[in-house]
């Protein structure tokens, strides 16, 4: 398997404060990487560097290099709109558009230039099926998405993300506001989606990281302390600091 995403000495500053420092790591295609660490450790900042979401925050700057498929995404000529299409994002709080379930997915397709009605219908159905939502909503596609439960809304947001066929999906605590059953559905979904996508997930829940990911990266105060296969991190981590964190000694 090849590296999909690669960070080399990536440092990100808010003003003069470095939120992440000299982070180097790579993510292989079709795997799930979990980012764990206490609040403020830089895991979300790192996630947002990948699709340049941090660009919109004033007074910030990036040093080092970040590549997707070998292309440097911080190169001045890099197409940021194209990047955000290739790299989808799912947030902690589900944020469906105040539109129908169907339109929530169709909207992104139209923006991407798909006009054919049948093609749109087919992609909507496929996306809802791959997020295991189709059976629950197929009879009310024209109803408002805001009438869905929190877990269904989050799966709709994932369906919306994959409808435009990204290559990478970033997830920032996608299940932290959900009940255990909805959380389990999202976690099962993540495992299914990795067949077609490369996924990076930020989670506060270490058990969740252990359940869904192939590799886990532990961040602390802006430093990448350790990245290893998830099973190794949770059975015999290389660094004592990682062991202390996952056994609840701090954080």
């Amino acid at each position: 398997m090849t590296d999909k995403i690669s960070a080399e000495n990536l440092t990100f500053y808010y003003g003069s404060t470095a939120a992440i420092k000299n982070v180097s790591l790579s993510v292989r295609s079709n795997t799930v990487l979990a980012l764990i660490g206490p609040s403020g450790c830089g895991k979300s900042t790192f996630l947002r560097c990948i699709n340049r979401m941090n660009d919109i925050i004033p007074n910030t700057r990036v040093e080092g290099n970040l590549t997707i498929d070998g292309e440097s995404v911080y190169h001045p000529k890099y197409n940021v709109t194209g990047l955000r299409r290739r790299v989808g994002m799912v947030f902690q709080k589900s944020n469906p558009f105040p539109k129908s379930i169907f339109e929530n997915i169709a909207y992104g397709l139209r923006i991407n230039g798909i006009r054919d009605k049948y093609e749109i219908e087919s992609i909507v159905e496929k996306s809802l099926k791959s997020t295991a939502l189709w059976d629950e909503v197929k009879n009310r596609l024209e109803k408002s998405a805001l009438g869905l439960s929190g877990g269904q809304q989050q799966r709709l947001c994932i369906a919306r993300t994959i409808a435009v066929q990204p290559e990478v999906i970033l997830m920032d605590e996608p299940a932290s506001a959900l009940d255990p059953i909805s959380t389990q559905k999202i976690e099962e979904l993540i495992q299914d989606l990795k067949r077609n996508y490369t996924i990076i997930i930020v989670t506060h829940n270490m058990q969740q990281a252990a359940r869904v990911s192939d590799e886990t990266a532990f961040f602390y105060m802006g430093d990448l302390i350790e990245i290893n296969p998830t099973e190794k991190i949770f059975t015999r981590p290389d660094r004592e600091m990682t062991e202390n964190y996952i056994t609840g000694k701090f954080g």
């Binding site: 099962e188 495992q191 058990q207 252990a210 359940r211 998830t230 099973e231 949770f234 059975t235």
Partner: protein
């Protein structure tokens, strides 16, 4: 819908069943090697024991991985815990079959003391118990597992009978001591195999019903 956890448990189960097949074969072949004084077959049993050893390590690792990454609960947790223990019992059964095979090699070429009847009978019971205990797993049938435990007494009885008989031989004729001691070792190995199958049956009851019947009157 089958979850990822259930798929992984199914995989562990199939590996354990593979191990059970190897253990059954090891018992059957080691006894046949002894009966037929077949040195080649005995050596094959010794060689193939590494297959069981490798599976033991592999299944242990797989169970640890599932515990860490899937965090099973309730029946799923009992399943993994049972598999971890059964794994060890099956590996030990393989070692005991190797002990029998080693005796077959030692006794090769020596005059036979008597036709072997009770030892093959004990091996047959062990094999039948093993088959039934794994059926109890598949069918989640705790009563069948309990029946397996009860049959261990038949093996113990045969073991004592073999001891008595062989002691008589040794008392009457000192020339028979080395062969008789070899056969006593075989009998002891089969008796221990019965104990390991009993352990497996107790783990089956634990998996199915969630009750621990070890060291109880059951």
């Amino acid at each position: 819908m089958t979850t990822h956890l259930e798929q992984e448990l199914e995989h562990i189960k199939s590996r354990i069943f593979e191990m059970a097949d190897l253990a059954i074969e090891a018992i059957a072949r080691s006894i046949r090697a002894l009966q037929n004084s077949d040195e080649g077959l005995a050596e094959a049993v010794l060689r193939d024991d590494t297959l069981l050893d490798n599976l033991e390590v592999e299944i242990d690792n797989e169970c640890v991985r599932v515990l860490v990454t899937r965090q099973p609960a309730a029946v799923h947790l009992r399943f993994v815990l049972s598999m971890l223990k059964i794994n060890t019992d099956l590996e030990r059964i393989g070692d005991l079959a190797s002990n029998i095979a080693r005796e077959a090699v030692n006794l090769h070429g020596k005059p036979t003391l008597k036709p072997l009847v009770d030892l093959p009978r004990m091996a047959e019971i062990c094999i039948a118990m093993l088959r039934d205990v794994f059926t109890s797993f598949t069918e989640r049938d705790a009563d069948r597992a309990r029946e397996v435990i009860a049959r261990d007494r038949d093996i113990d009885t045969l073991n004592m009978q073999v001891y008595r008989e062989l002691f008589t031989y040794m008392a009457e004729n000192a020339q028979t001591i080395s062969q008789a001691l070899g056969l006593i070792m075989v009998s002891k190995a089969l008796e221990r195999i019965g104990d390991h199958v009993t352990n497996i049956a107790e783990r089956a009851v634990y998996y199915i019903e969630g009750v621990d019947i070890r060291h109880t009157d059951e």
